[in-house]
Symmetry: C2
Subunit: 159 residues, 2 copies
């Protein structure tokens, strides 16, 4: 049942064409009887056939052509929780011209460590840390470690 229905659906156009053909042949037979005896009736008859079948062809073509499939890709944005794709802004970092050690101190500062703790981490004296921090404040043109950290995070030079 379903198969038959499917067959009908699939061949709908072919069946319609067949029926149309049958109807037209009947019509033509009738026309033949009416015009066959008239002079020049044949040319008229041929013209009518031509017109009708041209129309039929057009109709068929419109039915049977498969539509072109145009694929439109719509980008759907999915917001992800800040993935760890942090990349250092090398340009800004370069502009600041910080030394390796100064940058280390800056990073440790950003974690909230005191000079004492930073000194312990780097195995140097507190005075050294102070020197580094003073120089990096100067280079960054800030007055406090909090400002330095804020700026560094804003410029994406530390995570």
């Amino acid at each position: 049942m379903l198969l038959k229905s499917n067959f009908v659906t699939k061949n709908k156009n072919v069946i319609l064409y067949g029926i149309s053909l049958a109807v037209l042949l009947f019509l033509l037979k009738w026309l033949e009887l009416r015009f066959i005896i008239m002079s020049h009736a044949f040319e008229i008859y041929a013209g009518i056939i031509a017109l009708i079948f041209t129309g039929l062809g057009i109709w068929l073509a419109l039915r049977l052509t498969k539509p072109k499939i145009k694929t439109v890709v719509v980008e759907k944005e999915i917001y992800v929780e800040k993935p760890e794709n942090f990349t250092v802004n090398q340009h800004e970092l370069a502009k600041l011209n910080l030394s390796k050690r100064e940058l280390e101190v800056l990073n440790l500062m950003a974690t909230g460590l005191s000079n004492q703790e930073i000194a312990a981490q780097l195995f140097v004296s507190v005075n050294t840390v102070k020197t580094h921090s003073s120089k990096l404040f100067e280079k960054m043109e800030v007055k406090r470690r909090t400002q330095a950290v804020e700026m560094a995070k804003r410029l994406n030079i530390i995570k």
Copy 2:
């Protein structure tokens, strides 16, 4: 010249149809001469006309109609880093149980301001700012402003 060329281009299909028609009529006339005397030749003739003009109709339709376009929308998921739609983590903020003023001080601290500057911003004395900061350090269980700011940013309670 250009106008004429444009005209030709625009009506190319119509002209082609005209020419096809002329050729076909000539062909039909010839066929008429050959088959008119044969028995049942007329049915064959009509069939040929029908076939040819059906083909012509199909050809015409394919030429003259705009191609059908079926648009298929495909959603492509692209992952975007959460834009600056910073939202305060109310849950974490509530857990800390900070007062309005303490949160204000915390926010100003995060911008790198000193207690002196914060006091000026809030039109209170430095001592008041100190009191607020001390209490918020206690609530956040940190020892320094830098730690407080680091924690606050990590917990998404300040921008």
